[in-house]
Each structure stands twice: as C-alpha cells, then as structure tokens.
C-alpha cells in the first residue's frame, strides 16, 4: 500500500473565461490533515468539487488510493472512499438526524423495492442495526445529541448541524474526509469545540486523512500537518504552518498587495 492516498497532477478547471484552478499539484498522505487555504475565490471549493465528481476537470488528473478517478461520477468517487461536507451546510433540514446520517450510509442500505415493501421484518433488523451505529457515532460528539436522533435537523443550532454533517460523511467509513469551512457561522467557543471534535475523530478512525478548507488561521495552525495555499487558482506555497505563515508571497496574497 503506497503512502500517498491522494494525488493531483496538473489539475485545472475553467468556467467560461474564468480560470478557477490552474495546474494544481498536491499530495495527501494516509492519516494526514492538510489545510487548504487562500483568499476568497481562489479555487478551494472548486478543487473539492473536481475531486468528488461534481465537475469534470478541464485538465489534469486525480489519483486516489492507487486508482485514476479523474472525471468519475460523484457516486463512484463516494464509493471509492471520499466523503465531504459542504461550505454552505447541505443537510436535509426537514428530515431527522437519523435520516440525514443514513443518507451518508447509502451504499450499505438495501434499497430493493421488494425488500422495502414486503420484507418489513428484515428491514426492521437493518434499521435497528444502523440506528445503533449512527447513535454511537453521534454520541462520540455529544451524548445529548445522540438522545435526539429523531428530531428534525432544522431545529438544531449551527454547531450541531456541522456535527451531523460530519457524522453523515463518517458513517460510510471513508478513507478521505473533505471539510469545507467547518467553522463558518460559529462562535469562537464553538470553533474550539469543533477542532477538538475533528482531532478526536481522526484518533478514533485510525488512518483517516482529512483536507480542511478554513479561513480561521487558528484552526489551521492547530489541526494541520501540512498546508497548501491557493491564490487565483494557482498554488503559491506549501509546507508547515510556520513555513507558509512566513512566506512573503502568502502574506501579500492575503493582504492583496501585489
């Protein structure tokens, strides 16, 4: 098993005239937490979308776990072991916590028509089994939340929603977790809690790699083994947090003094 889990080679994406991403090379090793940073509109979310099959890249390749997944459908990528959260939380608000997490568990659900309509006893067995798993997963974040598995997600505050979103991504036991601005819309204390959550998750799920997009530099400094900085769709720097923080090119990109 190679040490490298994910690799971008010369990845690029054009939206009409806009070069959202340009010649992006990156490697993620197993068990590593990578911070992906850069000013607004620098192509961070686009790189997630290219990886997870939402858009097909205009150029370049994505390799994951030894296979070329360039241009694969979102479904295939998910089955290969990449799960994500979204920049603007994309939970199904009217559905319960349990339902939302089960959407992430979709690959293991038996969705056969006959099974669901007529084998109700077997279905019940599966529902109870997955309920226990989902509850345990949620309990790892908050015991209180685990006691409310059948509350609609729309009734929960932002931090709880983020947690549910992470649980939804984790229930499928992915090899790579993509977090797009997990601290957005949270208070200082909530953000601190969120970081503890993420570190705890990594410890619980041995070998999980995480790429985290974040504007909050404190989060990046505390969590990440490596950082990659994008600006106008190009990688301008990479290395440890101390290294990129000292990089004059990164400083000028953030301050906008070219």
């Amino acid at each position: 098993m190679s040490e490298v889990l994910l690799e971008f080679k010369n990845l690029g994406k054009n939206f009409g005239g806009v070069r959202a991403l340009d010649g992006f090379d990156m490697q993620v090793k197993r068990g590593e937490i990578i911070g992906l940073i850069g000013p607004n509109g620098s192509g961070k979310t686009t790189s997630f979308n290219l990886m997870t099959g939402i858009y097909a890249p205009s150029q370049g390749e994505v390799h994951f776990d030894g296979a070329d997944i360039t241009g694969m459908s979102a479904r295939k990528v998910y089955e290969a072991g990449i799960a994500r959260t979204f920049q603007r939380s994309r939970l199904c608000l009217p559905l319960s916590i349990f339902d939302n997490i089960m959407i992430g568990n979709h690959a293991r659900l038996n969705t056969g028509l006959w099974f669901n309509l007529f084998q109700r006893r077997a279905l019940r067995g599966q529902v109870e089994e997955f309920y226990t798993q989902a509850r345990d997963l949620v309990a790892g974040f908050s015991e209180d939340l685990a006691g409310r598995m059948f509350d609609p997600v729309g009734s929960l505050p932002m931090i709880e929603r983020r947690r549910i979103e992470i649980c939804r991504a984790l229930i499928s036991k992915p090899k790579l977790l993509l977090l797009d601005e997990p601290s957005a819309g949270m208070t200082h204390d909530e953000t601190a809690q969120m970081m503890d959550d993420i570190l705890a998750v990594r410890d619980r799920m041995g070998g999980l790699s995480i790429i985290i997009i974040e504007h909050e530099m404190g989060v990046i400094e505390r969590l990440c083994d490596q950082c990659v900085v994008l600006s106008y769709g190009r990688k301008i720097s990479e290395g440890s947090y101390a290294h990129i923080a000292a990089d004059p090119e990164v400083q000028s990109a953030y301050l906008g003094m070219d």
Partner: protein
Amino acid sequence: MQNKTIPDTRWMGLPHLAVGLIVIAAIALFGWQFLLADSEIAVLGMVALAAMAAFGVGKTGLNKSMSAAMRNHGRSMNIAILLALVCVIFLLGGEHFPLLMLTTTLLYMTVAFGLNAQFGLTGMVNFAGASFFGVGAYTAAVLTNHSALPPILILVAGGVFSALIGCLLIVPVVRTAGHYSAVVTIAFSVMFKTFLEVNDVLGGPQGLMVGPMKTFGWDFNSSPLLMGMELSFYVNYALLGAGLAALAFMFVQRLERSWIGLTLDSVRLDETASACFGLNVVRAKVLAFTFGNILIGIAGALYGMMISFIAPNSFSFSDSLLMVAIVLLGGLGSLWGTALAAVIVVLLPEKLQILQEYRFLLFSVVVILMLLFRPEGLMPRKVRSYFPNWRPEQ
C-alpha cells in the same frame, strides 16, 4: 442495547384505542349523513359543524390521543377505518348518487396517493395526473370491448399502460430539473386530450363505452342483494374502490417508511448532495414516477368501468390541476392529509352546486392561500418513523 420497544400495557393502551374507535365511528356516521344530505342548507350546516369539530379537536387534546392510537394500535385502527367505510357503503345501500360520489372520491384519493409518491416524496410535480388516469380508463375501454381478458387483469393492465406511457415522459422529466419537468407534464396533459379528440379509433370527442367489472362470476353491474333488499350496483364499485384506496395507502406508506422513502426525500431536498453520497438519482425518480403512475392508471381503469362511458373531457388539464391541488392541500407527503383533502376537493363541489361552477377558481385561490399561510398543508407530514411502534430513545 438502547433499542427497545415501549411495552404496550393493556391498561395504558386501551383508552387511546377506545378514543380512536369512537372518533372513527363518529366520522363514519357524519360521512354517511353528509353523503345523504340533500338540501344545500343542511350541507352548509354540516360543513360548519365539521370545521368547529376540527377546531375543537386541537383544543381538547383529542388529536394527541388520536395520534397515540394510530401509533400504538396502527393495525387495529386501520382495520377499524376500513370496516367503518364498508359500513357506510352498506348503509347507503340503494342510493345510487351518493355511492357514485363516494367511489369517485376514493378513486381520486388513490390517484392523489400516487401523486404524493411523485410530488410529495420525490418533488416531481406531475401536472398530467388526469392524463394517466385517462390512460387507465381508455385501456379498460379498449380491452373490455376487444379482448377476453378477465376485468381484474384489465385493472392491472390500466396501471401497466399508464406506467409505460409515463416512460415516454421519463427521459425529459428526469433530465430536466425543477420547474422544467413540470412544464413537460403540462405539455403532455394538453397533448393527450387533443390526441384523444382527434383519434377516431378511440371514439374522438364522443368517447367510448367501457365494459363492466366482473370477477369470479361477480358482475359489478348487477344489483347485489342484502337480506332480501336490492342494493345499488355502485355498492360493488364502492367496495372495490375502498379496497384499492386502502392498498394504495398501504403501499405508499410502506414506501415512505423505508430506505426508498429516505432516498426519495433526499433527492427532493438536494440532488447534488444526494449524488455525493452515492444515491442513484435517476433510479429514484424513475421508480417514484412509475410507482405513482401505476396507482393512477389502475384507479382510472376502475373509474372507466364504473361510469361505463368515457370521453376526453373527463381527463383535461383542469382535472390534473385539481389532483395536484389535493396533494398540496393535504400536505406534501402526508397521506392522511391527502385523504382528507380528496374528500374536500371532490365531495364538497358535488354537494354544493354553487361551488361546482367555480370549483377551479375556488381551489386555485385556496391553494394559493394555503401556500402563503400554511405551506405544510392541512395535516402536515411528520418526521419519518420507520416503524411507528419502535421508539428506541425512551
């Protein structure tokens, strides 16, 4: 294990069930009298009474007891409701017109259950409900006249044909997102009626005769005898209509309370995120669309056999609109709400001639007001519970 079902102790359970049964009996009695009421004043009085009762139910906590009865004694309650319906049918006995109205309501209810799988769960608005209903009815007409197929199979054929015609639409409906797929069904609805009107084989604007329902020597168009009394032949159709509505209810409810229901909800709420978690969006849409059209087609076939003469005018775009109005009024995804709304939308205009003329206008206004002030419908859908008597959190 945290998982456990609540023990259903008899002395705890009995009062809820008793309350449930009393309410069912009261509604059945009311429905029976409502169907028989012949003066408009009496009808208006009864509508006012029902509105007051509905208001009172919320105030006295009766609704809590009712939902507890439905949750803890689902099977008994469902059987009781079906029995009550059968009683009403026999109590109406020789009354042709009320029985015809009741059966029409039950068939529209079946249609609305089908639409609910498409619209309420999956978010695909089907503005061609009346067309698929028509496909069922015309299938019944052609097959009863030109084949020796047993009528019970003709009902099934009505559903199958409706689903097949639906397959013609499936490509544009699945490919286009949101409102565009609604436009596709509107176009189909308009084209379908025009097609019937210019097609001589299908009787053109005059329409076609439909043969009766017959099964195992039971001819639905002959009057059944009950204890020496001759009943209306509509009793046959009403009984079968009740059975069909009950089956449709059961199927859609089981669909909703399953992984498939979850998949459909997810596709409705966020297609992109669904695909990111490996859901097959196309399969979900095809399944829901076909499932709904089968139910609609079967209801249409039975409708054709019952009224024995069908014409393009019964399957117009405005009828499709009424069907969608039922689903919106009842509450998207809420099956009991749909049942209630079907009664309101179909029965009320029949009983109040003033409404009959303006019913399209009236229900358009009602739907708009509903969407503005109570978008979740008369009886909002609850969070999914896969098995209503299973509550692992307590």
